[in-house]
């Protein structure tokens, strides 16, 4: 099976986010960047699909500046075979412009499955996967927590409110990976060494034409200072009173 997994470089989920002085971007100072956690599920699933099929190749693709090379190496260290680095031409892509660049790069690539993370933890979109699949004309199942592939078909489970949808699709198809799909492996020392020698193809990303204009980026609205009602179970009646009379929620 030939599988492509898309990976993105994002700030660590515990990073402090400070809006830069332009009011439109994040100040990168002091931020540690990681491989998007959901993309680890995508890479892991790609490796498992290939291992189960017994043959094939796992390609990881990242769109981004020069720093994304490091993100690709991390995925290669997990066991992917080769990388594609789409060099970003200008910042400020929105979801559709990102999807257009990824779709343009994969248009002529023969693949059986195309995997994404459910969302990138910087822009919290959950959009690029469905958009790229649509542009490539691939059937798509998003937010997948279980995937079974056999006889040119895939059966995917995706949680919805109060249950799960089971969707069957013919391959080639695209999927986005949700927590629960698998436990991503750690890169071994051997894997990290091997990753250095694996081929990474670099090419410019097609120019992006974002449709959304970012007007402003700002810190979250402050929450009114809360109060400690008291200590231990003696505080319970006071809390219940506040919930009834002040908050009026019970």
């Amino acid at each position: 099976m030939n599988i492509v997994a898309c990976v993105k470089r994002v700030p660590d989920s515990s990073a402090r986010i400070k809006v830069a002085s332009d009011g439109k971007s994040v100040d990168p100072a002091g931020i540690e960047f990681i491989l998007n956690p959901y993309d680890e599920y995508a890479v892991e699933e790609a490796l498992r699909l290939k291992e189960k099929a017994g043959s094939g190749e796992v390609t990881v693709l990242a769109l981004g500046g020069p720093e994304s090379a490091e993100t690709i190496r991390k995925a290669l260290a997990m066991g992917a075979d080769r990388g594609i680095h789409l060099k970003e031409t200008a910042p400020g892509r929105d979801f559709i412009a990102t999807a257009q660049a990824i779709a343009a790069a994969l248009k002529d690539v023969k693949l059986d499955a195309l995997l994404f993370g459910n969302k990138a933890i910087d822009d919290d979109g959950s959009q690029v996967a469905a958009m790229t699949a649509t542009l490539l004309g691939l059937p798509y199942v998003g937010v997948v927590t279980k995937l079974e592939v056999a006889d040119g078909k895939a059966t995917a489970h995706r949680p919805i409110e109060g249950g799960a949808e089971i969707v069957e699709v013919p391959l080639p198809a695209a999927f986005s990976a949700q927590k629960g799909l698998n436990e991503p492996r750690f890169a071994s020392l051997k894997g990290i060494m091997a990753a250095k020698k694996k081929p990474v193809e670099e090419k410019p990303a097609v120019a992006g034409e974002p449709r959304l204009e970012l007007i402003k980026l700002e810190p979250p609205p402050p929450r009114a200072a809360g109060k400690i009602v008291g200590t231990g179970k003696e505080a319970v009646p006071a809390l219940v009173k506040l919930l009834r009379e002040e908050a009026k929620v019970v």
Partner: protein
Amino acid sequence: MPGPVLVFIEQREGKFKQASIQALCEGRRVATALGVPLAAVVIGSGVAGAAAELGAYGAESVKVADHEKLKSYANAAWGRILAKQAGGASALLLSATSTGKDLAGHAAAMLGTSVAQDCTELRVEGGRILAKRPVYAGKAFATVAVKAGPLVASLRPNVFPATAPDPSKKAAVENLPLDAQDADFRAVVKEIVSSAAKKLELTEANIIVSGGRGMKGPENWHLITDLAAALGAASGASRAVVDAGWRPHEEQVGQTGKTVSPTLYIACGISGAIQHLAGMSSSKFIVAVNKDPDAPIFKIADYGIVGDVFEVLPALTAEFKKLRE
């Protein structure tokens, strides 16, 4: 003349989802501010019946794609139907439910546009819709507007208020043709499995009681579910608890779990890590019970009790039970 505001209305077994009604009411406010009509879109099989009732929330018309082939959710087919209708619209609004978020991307890609996902505020300024949405797991908020064409936006459930229905108002119903290609039916939902227990769904609940590692083990979870039962609430969990196997994935609240905005969120033995806050900080009221007065959860809680969950939760449950009697 700018086009209408369209709102996609989700239904299950013929019942409209509350999150969709909230989106429709917000659509009414946006359409009024823009001075354009408001239309609802309903897709499914055997769904035409109740459509006219959406007029009660301010829809002037309802576009209904009612067809046997649309009985089960097929993202590409549903996306194509929406995209076809939204071409000349000012906006296409959906609710940020599992279906809404999925569908938004399909419709937008077919329109060649992007999506303002999981918005918490819409406003109209100078004839333009500005959409505000959390990014970086709620650590920042981005305000965006579309450069040209319709704004496709999904709205976070329980954030936008629903107005009281006016049942005397009926909408004009327009039937849509099945505007989809065969290839759009390659990904069709074959089956929906309901969660084992008939539980109240987290993202739809008005009150949520969540437990963290401070609960010490799965054997103590009845303290959470008893309190939830006394309040008619749903129960949730932190990731630490889910990863330890105490609770199922579907109960996880946070960055890698569910995003919830209930009226009341009670966090019990949860430290308040930023990734947990990402999933619940837009709750209207937050209560924290934690034995550590310095736990970060107290920074965002409206009301806190410093104390042992094993002592405080039974007392809370008893107090709420008394209220109900």
